[in-house]
Every structure is written in C-alpha cells, then in structure tokens.
Assembly symmetry: C2
Homo-oligomer: 364 residues x 2
C-alpha cells in the first residue's frame, strides 16, 4: 500500500502530553486532508519497563522498525533508581539514532514575531531569523571508541572519550546541508574547531572537497565553534544552513533556541539514508526534553511537537502545502494571543497543553 506508517511514541515526562496534541493534529490531516498515513501508538520508558523489564519493549521496537516516520515525545529525567542504567541504555534514544542510522538532524530556528516580548534577544535581533542547523547525529564523540573510565597506577581515575569523523560520515551530512541550502537561500556555514582538532581538520577538508566537486553554486563559509556560538546570539539572521558535528550541534542548537524565542517552540527531524526503495527513515521530535518539573501538569507547550508534525508532512509525506498550512495555523494561534506558560508574558492568560492544541486545530 502507499500508506505511510507513522509510529507515535510519547515516551516520558511531558512527552505523552505534548504528543497527545500533535496526535490530534495528525488525525486532523488524515481526516480532513486525506493524508495517506496509518498511525500506531507505542509506549516507551518507565511504564513499559515496570510491565516488561524493558524501556523499549518488543511491541514498540516493532512499531518503530516498520514505521516510515516516528513521532517521538521525550525521554529521560532526573536520575531515577526506578530504571537501572543498563535497562535505560538498552533502549536509549542514542541507541535508536544509531540503529536507524539517523545521521542528519535538522533543527530549524525560526523566530516568531509574536513571541518577541518573552524572548531574551531584542526584537530587532530576532526579526527575520530563519535558519536550519544540521547536526551530525550518529558519530563524533557520542559514539567514538575507545571510551570509558580507568584507574591509573597512582589510584586516580581517568575518564576518556574519542571524538572522530571519517570522510564518508562527513560527506553524507555535508550533502544534506548543500541540498537543503539549494532549496533555501543557498548558503552553508560549516562549524568546526579546525585550529585545534584533527577531527575538525578532516571535517573542513571534506566540506571543501564536496563543495568543489558538486556544490560550487552554493556559498560555503566556515566558523570556529566558539565564534559560531557568539554569532548565533549576536546576529542570527546571517545564517541560512549551518552544518556541524554531533556535540557542537548539541550545544549550538540549544544556544540557538534563544534566537527563536523559546525552546518549547522548536521541532526537529532526524533522517537516515535513502534505501533502495527510495524511502528514508525519519524520527521527528521537539528539541525540548522531558521537563520532569512540569510533567503531568498538562501545561507543557505542545508547539515543538506540533511543528515536528509539520516537518513530517514536508519531509516524509512530501506534502509541502499541508506543512505550510500547519505552520501558518501555529502562527495564527500565536498571533491571536495563545500562550502556554513558557512563552507567556507576565500577566497574560496561560493556556494548558490541550487548549493550545485546540487553538491550533481552531486555526486550521
């Protein structure tokens, strides 16, 4: 069948609450816009662990394996003794990224004019910000070997990790960046620390090589990661597509969250390689985490998850008009004053997660 399979996995903390709202949005697109998809919900985290001994039980693994797209909520929280570290690790988000080879993590940073009152950056700095960070997600220091903790002869302990990139790993994520730039303002900024790290020297050389060979029509610039962190705050408008390694992308995208107004607004897509049937596995999730401090209160901002559905519509379902429709509905809801607590100005009315879902559905 040409139905696209979507696995919906709310996970832990505020994950299920925000995902419930994006699930409503998905249902709306299936019913009202005939988007050809089947949804399968599955559980992840403490609840299935208590029932099955696994944070990622068989049924969830199967739902994710067979899915074209996974709509993911959140995982993690304060260190808990309820799930032993080994069980956590066996089904971790890092493991899933690796299992499905989701190497290209796209994090769009778009400023919402409606939110400038609650943002730390000045309105004139936020105005017009619209860029995408592509973070390499399956290599670098997150996965490099050797890694571990050892005891030295003198009794000290030493922790060690390996940062590493091969040319093929760099090349494929560089390609994602150049291709995306061609659909936008045609600019790629590659971020590294080539003045200190050999890993970054290889990164930069391979960027330059691929650019020369296949993408010389795209403007390519380079920034050191420290300077990039500053430039993202100083003048975020200068960027179109930024591409970088795993740990740098982790840090820079949270830093950039403030250039969009709020972390709670940010969606992401993690894309795997294109297979021989032309399919490309993808995981969509809000950039925010499980926010255990507000979990269960029904007040989390579902817009990061809802905007992740827009990315799903655009990238997996190839329905750009529907993606635009949803993004506009979010802007309409915001423009009409809809605010969850995280983006509300002092004294403003604060909507619950469900009410924010209502506001977006109302605007559709």
């Amino acid at each position: 069948s040409n139905m696209v399979k979507v696995a919906v996995v709310g996970g832990e903390g505020i994950g299920p609450e925000v995902t419930a709202q994006s699930r409503r949005v998905l249902d709306w697109f299936a019913a009202k816009r005939n988007v050809p998809m089947t949804l399968r919900e599955a559980q992840y985290g403490l609840i299935p662990y208590l029932a099955t001994g696994k944070v990622l039980p068989e049924d969830t693994a199967e739902a994710m394996d067979e899915a074209d797209a996974i709509l993911w909520g959140a995982t993690g929280g304060p260190e808990t003794t309820e799930v032993p570290a080994a069980a956590r690790k066996a089904g971790s988000l890092l493991g899933l990224r690796r299992k499905y080879d989701l190497y290209a993590n796209l994090r769009p940073i778009v400023a919402s004019p409606a939110l400038s009152a609650s943002a730390p950056l000045k309105a004139e700095v936020l105005d017009g910000v619209d860029f995408v960070i592509i973070r390499e997600l399956t290599s670098g220091i997150y996965f490099g070997e050797p890694r571990g903790i050892e005891t030295l002869p003198d009794g000290q302990r030493r922790g060690f990790n390996t940062e590493q990139y091969t040319t093929n790993q760099i090349r494929r994520v560089a390609r994602s960046a150049f291709e995306l730039a061609r659909t936008r303002r045609n600019k790629v900024c590659s971020v590294d620390k080539a003045n200190v790290l050999e890993t970054s020297v290889v990164w930069r050389e391979e960027m330059i090589r691929l650019h020369k060979e296949e993408f010389s029509d795209v403007e390519l610039t380079h920034l050191y990661v420290d300077n990039a962190a500053m430039q993202i705050v100083r003048e975020p408008r200068q960027f179109d597509v930024m591409v970088t390694g795993n740990i740098f992308g982790d840090i820079l995208s949270d830093c950039a969250a403030m250039a969009s107004g709020s972390l709670g607004m940010l969606p992401s897509a993690s894309l795997g390689p294109v297979d021989r049937f032309g399919r490309r596995k993808a995981l969509y999730e809000p950039v925010h985490g499980s926010a255990p401090d507000i979990a269960g209160k029904g007040i989390a901002n579902p817009l990061g998850s809802i905007l992740s559905v827009a990315m799903l519509l655009r990238l997996t379902l190839n329905r750009p008009e529907d993606a635009d429709l949803l993004e506009k509905a979010v802007q309409t809801a915001l423009a009409s004053g809809a605010r969850t607590a995280d983006i509300a100005e002092a004294g403003a009315k604060k909507l619950s997660s469900v009410q924010m879902g209502d506001a977006v559905l109302g605007a559709l």
Copy 2:
C-alpha cells in the same frame, strides 16, 4: 627584590595596538600608585619569525619564563603561508598554556549598563549580570592523546581526538572555582555532558567529592553543556561561578560574551599552580582574538586588554583597590560616552584605540 616581573607581549593582529594602551595603563599605575613592577616588552609572531625563524624567539621565551605575569595581546589570523605550520606550532599559545601549566582560565562576564544599546540581549536580561567562567585550560580534548589523521583500508580518511580528564586535573580547577565562589556569591555551577560522556561522569563525580570533602558551604549545581549554553542567553544573572572543561569553556565563554555586551570588553586570566615560594604564574589576555580584518587600523577596542590589567593588579599584584580603581575608570569612560567602533551605536562618535586609552587614563 619584591618587584613583580611583567612580560608584555603584544603579538599579532590587533594585539600590539590594544596592548600599547594597556601598557600605558600599567605605566600609570607604576608611576602614580607605586605599584612595584618591572616591565619587559617582547615580540611574538610573524615579525620575529621573519628575523629569527621562530614565532617565539629566545628573548621572548626568556622574558616569559622569568615573568610572574605575562600581559598577552593576540595571535593568529587567516591561514598564512608566511609562517609554516611547524614553526607556528613550536611557539603556539596552546604550547605556552601547557608549558606554564596555566590550568585555570578565569573569564569574568560583567554587563556594562552603558553598552546595552549596542548589545543583542535586552537591557532587562543584561541588567546585573556578573559571573565568572573558569575554564580548565591544559587538558581535555585540546591535549588528549591519541590524536591524528589516518587513512583507512578503504581509502577514507579519519580524524580522531581524545577527550580526557583525570581526577587530579578536575580537582585542582574545581578548587579554584570553589575558592573564588567563597569571595563572591558562594555559588558554583559545574557544566558537563555526563548523560553521554564518561569523561563528564568522572568530572561530575569529582566535583561532588571535593564539594562534600571541603566546600559544602558553597552551593553546587550541575548543568549539561547544551542547557548551559541556553541558560547563559536566557538568564545570565543566575550564575556566579561556572566551571567547566577546556572545549566547553571555549564555546560557553564566547556565547557568554554577548551576555556582557561585547567580546571586545572581556578580559581573562590564566593561572598556574602555586609554587613553593607562594608564586603563581599568570597570563592575562583579552578574550578577543587577533581580528586581522581591522588590524593596523588603530580602531580596535583596548578595553579587554585594559581590564586584563585590572585582573593582573588584583590577582598577581594583590592590589584590589588599584584593580577597582581601574575598573571604575573604564566604567566612567564608557558612561561619558567613549566608544570604539565595536561598541558604538549607529551615528555615535567612534574613538580610536589611542583615544579610548586617553579616555581611561583621563578617568583615572
């Protein structure tokens, strides 16, 4: 003698221009406040390389070796073929940090109310910001072995680096942070990525251990580095002393530069271990780099270098009143409207480096 020996090394790019102004300030304190110091100027970079084949010639090495404090300008610039990489490396700033074991890099982030018009953050976010980032400077991924670039059997290239920390390395920089916090608002925030990196697990454990053993009167909190990058922009006022590893500190301090208003304003001190005579080698330098695009024009902001002199007065010379005097003179100059190009509002008069030096000396 109890004269303190200061080596003044302007270096490259805008380094000599800004250092010329802080040299004037040093001379003022020697003459007018009887600060007991001897100054020795020395050259670094392309100019001595052309004369001697070394970026760091014998004479400069000797001046720095015998100095209690080094006032450093800047080094580096666009990749140049004029100095071969091997000669660069032989006298690099990283090598100096290592040679003198300058493990504790202090970067104060203090917002200047006078500069809020030209800052990207809102005045109400900047208001009252006053914290210090302590970056570990002689270990971590900057120096970890093994490192290199190799060719794989399939012809690919692979770059690799080692992130690593031993408990002793963590402990001594942690101690610097706790001790500094006791002289301030008594709060330390330690930044790591302990949810992913073993190096960070050891980092966090050792922080907790030392805190428990010797500094339980100080408030200790922990942030993941991605969250820290966001919090620095979202609400920088929350921090007092932040302590972190080499690469995280590099990124976070540039990110934090925007929480002070401008990179050009930021000073730093890099401190070595206390020796058996109670002396502690230190290198003072502005956080900004060599800025080759404006080098030689006489328009660079000397305040980062001048405020580094204030740190020298406070930390090496133990003259807190003189340090305060100088910091107040800088604020007075700013309050009276003195602006170099980097911190000037549109339409405002832009001072040269020399004129900014005049303004500070005038306020002293």
